[in-house]
Amino acid sequence: MSKPIIETKDLTKIYGDIRAVDHLNLTVDEGEIFGLLGPNGAGKTTTIILLMGLSMPTAGTAIVVGHDIIRGSKEVRRSVGLLPEAAGYYEDLTAEKNLEYIGQLNDLPKIECEKRVSELLEEVGLTDWSKVKVEKFSRGMKQRLGIAQALIKRPKLVIFDEPTIGLDPAGTKEIRDMILKLNREQGLTVMMSSHLLHEIQLTCTSVGILNKGKMIVEDTIENLAKLFSEHQGMNIEFKLHNATPELYKEIEGIDGVTLVNQQNGVLNVGMKRDVTIEVSKVITKYGAEILLMKPREYSLEDIFMKYYEDGVR
């Protein structure tokens, strides 16, 4: 059985009139890659800084790696690595010195610290750059250094706040592969926040959608997709050759079809239940050929937008 590594209990943070985090209850199990998803200003970063003890909650609390975030904040920071959003480095120090400083702050003995630093620089592919000042680094390199910095304490849990923001596709993929590798090879639990839905879909095993400080939904990605398509019925895309307007009319007439629309040469048929066979029979009856037929999958974006709209309502 998996056991929870993060468990928030009615976690609340109020700034003036704004409830940045509002009675948030979320659970992240050990070994997961948990995606914290939400539009800008939903409370993702606030949640993360509350968990790290960088800000005090107005009400409620959370247990992270077995410690209370208010009373055991220092112990939480001992076993949780953080890559903050827009992480900063001492630009006038080398990559190696930056990491060594963080290692020392974690009370690593000198020799172990040096070993760990070169190990991590190897792991994130910065060995050749270890003696170069960080001011010369590209964004992608800084982000990789940030990952090394989060890992130096050998954490049980790492939190990445918007890890791929501002990176090019290659850099994004590097970071993504690194996160997946850490999770797979070292069994590290990862919590990452993002507003890039695609990113979360490719990386995470489960996801929590946050809006206006509230958790709207928390589930595995497959469950969410299933839930959503059941709710919306089926949707199948056809690519046809020699289609005629009469054909579309006839399809609309089929019992069970809820929606027919055609754009860019693709016919999109929404149905209450599976009537794919009936639809294809009609198509062949009109002498048209089916070039392509596939069920339309709901991307996380659809799910996200739906929940987001629900949240707004």
């Binding site: 960088l54 800000s55 220092k74 112990e75 920071r77 903050p84 900063g88 480095y89 702050l105 974690n106």
Partner: protein, 326 residues
């Protein structure tokens, strides 16, 4: 505590390797050479004064004490004004504070490193001055004089540490380094110039001087038939009253607290109270214990100011929210 020491070690390396520190060291070095030279010139012209006069004597311009009054705030504030907010804006603060340390370690480590830096500056300045003055004069301080110099060194370190703590407070209170720099410059000008001007204005409003005719009593005719004006006792009383008001108001400024205390330690009873007022009788001398007794309140006030700034920084920093990027 381990966290404090780690921060301290890093900050020490930063401070002593920084261009800022080297620039300050250069300025201070240059100025102390100049003030040593002046002090020596003064001593040559006033041979009745002891070795300590190299710190107070002003032949053409600033004495050591006046240099510290003027540049001390800059040194302390420059070393402290961006201690916290620079790390806040560059995003390193959230990284550092997400390590297993208490927040006060960061303040402690930084303040300690800053204090070591001002101590280094003070000792090198005073050391440089003594090192230059002894060969030029051909004699050194007496034993009592040496104790006075040690007291002066400690007082100067305390004074600079006060400015350092004020700078640190500004860096905690403001988000941007440009704001805290502006606050520092404003404070510096206020303490060094504005308060003195204000003190003169207030004194002038409270005790207006009579018009010029009443200023002098009828002069006695002298042999040459010349006119020898004498200052009337009433006028003297008025100027003394004004002086008291001015120096009381000036005490608001730590720079004046320092110059009074430093003068007393060096055996000179109040050579200057702010700009423009030069005591007519700077040769009154005090022993070190008399000087310390006379300036005790001033020293305590500077120390209290330091503690207040430090505690205020503490409280504000411990409660503050550490958001990435400010």
């Amino acid at each position: 505590m381990a966290g404090s020491m780690t921060v301290f070690r890093k900050e020490m390396a930063d401070q002593f390797g920084s261009k800022r520190f080297l620039i300050l060291l250069g300025i201070i070095g240059l100025l102390s050479i100049m003030s040593a030279y002046q002090g020596v010139e003064y001593l040559k012209n006033n041979p009745q004064r002891g070795f300590l006069a190299i710190f107070t004597g002003q032949e053409f311009g600033f004495s050591f004490i006046q240099l510290m009054v003027f540049f001390g705030p800059i040194i302390g504030l420059a070393l402290g004004f961006d201690a916290i907010n620079k790390e806040r804006t560059s995003g390193t603060l959230s990284t550092v504070l997400s390590q297993p340390i208490f927040r006060d370690s960061v303040l402690n480590g930084k303040f300690l490193a800053g204090t070591v830096a001002v101590t280094t500056l003070t000792i090198s300045t005073i050391g440089l001055m003594i090192g230059l003055a002894i060969p030029m004069l051909g004699f050194g301080p007496t034993i009592d004089g040496a104790f006075s110099i040690i007291s002066l060194t400690l007082l100067t370190i305390l004074y600079l540490a006060f400015w350092l703590s004020l700078g640190t407070l500004f860096s905690v209170l403001t988000k941007k380094t440009s704001t805290s720099m502006l606050a520092s410059v404003g404070t510096w000008l206020t303490c060094v110039i504005v308060i003195s001007i204000l003190a003169s204005l207030i004194a002038n409003a409270m005790v207006p001087l009579p018009s010029f005719q009443g200023t002098f009593t009828q002069g006695n005719r002298t042999q040459g038939g010349g006119f020898n004006p004498q200052i009337s006792p009433e006028y003297r009383a008025l100027t003394e009253q004004r002086f008291t008001i001015q120096s009381t108001i000036s005490k608001v400024s730590p720079t004046n607290l320092y110059s009074e205390a430093a003068s007393a330690i060096l055996g000179v009873a109040q050579s200057r109270a702010g700009f423009g007022i030069i005591n007519t009788n700077p040769t009154r001398t005090l022993t070190l214990s008399q000087g310390l007794a006379a300036s005790w309140a001033n020293i305590a006030a500077i120390a209290v100011g330091l503690v207040i700034c430090f505690v205020a920084s503490y409280i504000k920093f411990l409660r503050s929210e550490i958001r990435p990027g400010g």
